[in-house]
Amino acid sequence: MIKRKLEEQLKSQFHISSFRPGQEEIIQDIMDGHDVLAILPTGSGKSLCYQLPASLSEGLTIVVSPLISLMEDQVKQLKAIGFKAVEALNSFMDPREKRRVLQQLDQYKLIYLSPEILQQKDIIGRLKQITVDLLVIDEAHCISQWGHEFRPDYLRLGDVLKQLHDPAVMALSATATKEVQHDIIASLDRPDIVRHIYPMDRENITFTVKKVENDRQKQDTITRLLKRYRVPTLIYFSSKRKTEEVAAVLSKHLPSHRIAFYHGGMDQLDRVAIQQQFMNDQLDIICCTSAFGMGINKQDIRLVLHYHFPLQIESYLQEIGRAGRDGQSSVSLLLYSPGDEALPKSIIANELPQADDADQLFRTLYQLYLKEPQLPSTDKVLDLLEVTEIQWRFLHYQMEKHGMIKNNQLVFQKQDWEQSIREIKQFMIARAALKQRKLDEITSWIHEERCLREHLYKGFQNNYKSPTYACCSNCGFSFKNWVPEQTRAEKTIYSWETKLKKLFFIGDYDSETK
């Protein structure tokens, strides 16, 4: 009976004819009121696992999601298929708009929000007034991967759950090691969570690593490769500036390709434009940072290149997970040149305060306390302590946890401070070591001489499916034998009059005469 109802809703609301592996079981468990931790491959349809129950449920489902663009994208797509009781709340939205959504909160079935906004008193207060049936944590590995310094509010989700009178929880991820799964369960404090862990290897992706001498050779390699293949392509970078630079170089050398760049420093409208053009096949290549990707759901991305390698295997898996969602043969190519480790190292250093500097930091904070316990504005603190914003967020969270900051006021007790500082320093050292270990993991994978597939997944699962197409560059893959379907689009320049006619289907383009 229930099963029939689920299938009906699947067809009528989502226009999907049957479930994919795992989806039905997960949805059943959620409908029965269980908590669920689900690990499924990228592109396997995790969103549906909460969207379908939300569309059938009386109360509200809230989804905690790490990226604004990701939330907005999902909301737009749901509205486009006619599921309208959906909205996204984020810290950047117009306050009037936010108030409107909050006032009518009981009319929604699904609300996407960021972990930061869940810390705002008005939001939590309002959520408490209505029934939250289900709290979903998408990309749940963020709880562990980023939680400690980058996004401390992810660590406060356990607390949010209590405040909301313990709704059911669903944690979703495509890239969670056993260790991370542990972290997730512990920080949510739901030991009885039902686990749906599926192998997350992608059998239609071929893994390749190419070592070159320098930047110049990276660009030459990319140019040569893309001259041969005109297919939907993503190129990942760790630096915003570099996305623009290389996009310009490629545009010069590949005049027939349509190339753009995308990074978090661009304004919202520009980002939407690039993303939608890519979705509509108006662009061939996007040079992007990790801001592009998560949740991007284009079926036929054939090539994912890495100009810089990410800080850890998890991020790499996320990024290559954009490729080949249609199941067709797709290739990941990571380019490495000696000295490439410097960039990720400096990114890590920027994220964490150095344990060596800790004593000086706390001395400055103590002096601040003597003058005035109330913390000044964030800008002032950053100036005073000479730390980055991410470092301060880490410190602030740690100090709060140790009772050294309460309600944005410094609280001083000599003995407690000494003890806390020792603990915080220990913790910094441990975190730095962990990050270094993650970095070592990916660099040693890059230098692996045996099967790349086997060693890529070994930290996540014991086995992997045999690849549908070629396995990896260490198992004999060569681009010579790779013949994906190419994009045909012409790049003709029309007059504005013709462009306008085409847009409106006028004259030769009039669809009504068809």
């Binding site: 545009s251 753009a260 661009m266 304004d267 108006q282 504005w496 462009k499 306008l500 847009l503 289907f505």
Partner: protein, 348 residues
């Protein structure tokens, strides 16, 4: 280029009377009495509010470039002066066609709404022509989407006619622009399975500067609005766009409360006490009201004698710096009274 030209011409009008950030506020269309008054006094109404999306950071960066290129010099008090090459550029580009499209004070509120309605309407009618109702809208602000929905519902039975009429009207309007302008505009439109170019893509493909693109689009919209206003019968669809466009509301909310009380014959001091505001704030409101009122009772605040004294001082100094004027007039005349006279006379 366009941006540079506009900044330079603002600076040349302000001379050393206003700091460089006054230019920023003017382009952003800041709703402060100071900015509105500046725009009247220095005859910069056409540039008021033409760049609402301008970021301070980008503005500063452009100013630095102008200084580096020796077109502007920044003085210690943050006022800006034109160099000889700045002057040269100003004269060389004075006939730059597109600059004459701007009519900021009349259109600064209408233009963005008009553009957004147009963008979404085009996307909607072209998609529905292909029976596609699952597209991701280019604009998702409720006030815009609701308006487009309403139009669409009224017209859905005559879709084909509506679409070709919309095309015809847009075509006519674009013919009044230059070739490049028309291209830029059409490239930024979205339709069925087609998403318009972003500002930086347009800048790249036409070899323009990124900061200029929003200005080009705004200028074109201003031009379109004035063509349509002059001949509504030729543009039946666009005339509908006018029905509920925001009115140039003139004064700010707070000032309009003050005006209500003034109309009830409360004095400025009484209003300040009643509203728990500083007297100077109420004076600001009065000046703001004076700017927009055609029949402002100036005599209630400044005697005719004092008015002429102030006007004489203004002519004498030929600067609009309040300090200079104040220095020339008798001590009993306040800054408030000077500002009021300037406002009423819409002095330039």
């Amino acid at each position: 280029m366009l941006f540079d030209y506009i900044v330079i011409s603002c600076c040349s009008r302000f001379r050393d009377g206003r700091s460089i950030s006054a230019v920023y506020h003017l382009l952003k269309g800041k709703r402060s009495i100071q900015t509105v008054q500046d725009s009247h006094i220095y005859q910069l109404n056409h540039f008021y509010g033409i760049y609402p999306t301008l970021q301070k950071q980008d503005f500063d960066e452009q100013i630095h470039k102008l200084v580096d290129d020796s077109l502007l010099v920044l003085n210690n008090d943050n006022t800006a002066a034109l160099t000889d090459s700045g002057q040269h550029l100003l004269h060389r580009q004075a006939n730059h066609g597109i600059v004459h499209y701007f009519n900021g004070m009349d259109y600064y509120q209408k233009a963005p709404v008009f553009l957004e309605r147009l963008l979404l309407l085009i996307q909607t009618v072209t998609n529905s022509a292909e029976n596609n109702f699952q597209f991701i809208p280019v604009i998702d602000k409720p006030i815009i989407t609701n308006w487009v929905k309403k139009q669409y519902h009224q017209l859905r039975h005559h879709q084909a006619v509506f679409r070709s009429q919309l095309y015809k009207e847009l075509y006519q309007l674009l013919q009044c622009c230059s070739e490049t302008e028309a291209n830029i505009f059409v490239d930024s439109l979205s339709g069925y399975n087609h998403y318009g170019m972003s500002s930086f893509q347009i800048a790249d493909s036409y070899g323009l500067k990124r900061v200029d693109i929003p200005l080009v689009k705004t200028a074109m919209i201003h031009q379109m609005l004035s063509i349509i206003t002059r001949n509504t019968t030729a543009y039946p669809i666009f005339a509908r766009f006018f029905h509920d466009l925001p009115q140039a509301s003139g004064i700010t909310n707070s000032a309009s409360k003050t005006k209500e009380l003034l109309d009830k014959q409360y004095s400025a001091e009484e209003i300040a006490a009643r509203r728990h505001l500083r007297l100077n704030t109420i004076y600001d409101h009065v000046v703001e009201i004076a700017l927009y009122e055609d029949e402002f009772p100036l005599e209630q605040y400044v005697t005719t004698d004092k008015q002429s004294e102030i006007l004489a001082a203004v002519n004498d100094t030929s600067s609009y710096k309040l300090k200079d004027i104040k220095w020339k007039v008798s001590e009993t005349i306040s800054y408030f009274q000077i500002r009021l006279v300037l406002a009423v006379e819409k002095i330039s």
